[in-house]
Symmetry: C2
Subunit: 205 residues, 2 copies
């Protein structure tokens, strides 16, 4: 059991993380947040921030980690739905868009810091996305008898397209998001179909 003291600490720590997430938006990136702003939003004194995080970077990396968690939950959800049958691509895109919509700021930090100015951040995001890619590559390799290299290239392309669409979808209204999602499905099918063709071509010689 957690002492009343540790509970309170955990509570304000969450308040800090939540405050940071809540300040994110289309026009506000994590790196543009100041320690004081976050502390203000969390209703603590600026100096109290240090009781929880060494600096803003540490807070940010914590947030990226939570993003990774969301990503993995999303994968699980997608896999469950796919088991019920239907177009894997379509189901995956739908799942992605749903999760994106209910956790916009989690994706904001992932998508933005992926190409941000902090090497540790980029590495952390890359690591999370790498999960995605390798899992996908493994799946394709197994179910479609794809060669490892081709499976890898295919998975990368798919993930690139999905995340890119995600970044674009973040600031769209529902209607436009639907159009985007439909186009994304087509693009993913292109990659899948094309990979299949390339695979056959390689086998026939």
């Amino acid at each position: 059991m957690m002492g009343i003291r540790a509970q309170q600490k955990e509570k304000t720590r969450r308040a800090l993380v939540d405050a940071a997430f809540n300040q994110l938006s289309a026009e506000r990136s994590f790196s543009s947040l100041s320690l004081r702003e976050v502390a203000r939003e969390a209703n603590i004194a600026p100096t109290s921030f240090y009781r929880h995080f060494k600096d803003m970077n540490e807070l940010g990396l914590t947030m990226v980690d939570e993003g990774g968690l969301t990503l993995r939950q999303m994968m699980r959800k997608g896999r469950q739905r796919a088991e019920a049958g239907g177009s894997v691509i379509r189901i995956s895109v739908e799942t992605f868009m749903e999760v994106l919509e209910s956790n916009p700021n989690v994706f904001r930090i992932l998508l933005h810091e992926r190409s941000g100015t902090s090497a540790p951040f980029r590495a952390a995001v890359a690591r999370e996305i790498e999960h995605f890619i390798s899992e996908l590559a493994h799946y394709t390799e197994a179910t479609a008898r794809r060669s490892p290299e081709l499976a890898r290239a295919q998975a990368e392309a798919l993930v690139t397209l999905v995340f890119n669409a995600g970044a674009a979808a973040l600031d769209m209204k529902r209607v436009d998001r639907k159009i985007l999602a439909d186009r994304l499905v087509i693009q993913l099918r292109m990659v899948a179909k094309g990979a299949e063709c390339l695979q056959q071509k390689m086998e026939n010689r």
Copy 2:
């Protein structure tokens, strides 16, 4: 003819733009530059900055415009080379990587501000990239008899993959860039081949 006075003005204006470009790096984005830093690097007083730009945003948009110019020059160069024959995809990727290598900071601002926090910036970059996409879509529509919708989706996918690879290539050594470029070529072929298949499928019913 330009008076000696206008010449001098143009000269320090360029100094400002160049100073800003030169400060960009993997760990330094445009939005993290301060007016004073840029002025310092350009060897002018901070307040003199205003003789040339209303604020940092205006400077940034100027830089994005120059980026658009670079992009269009790249397209021309690629088209010329492609006329000589050979794999269009491979030639395009090679051209892209060359231009990327010799103008890293031009691409930095394009690639970063594409998903940045300033709506005007995002719009400006999107406009430049849209050139790319529509030109490519038109080309595919004409030479491969692709339907407009499919051509558009295909072009978008291609451009997404290319620019994404470009962002990743920016901070790589030459060797890794080569590997990346080869994989990119494969991915682009997937899209091209897949689009072809989808097109045929649509026609056969």
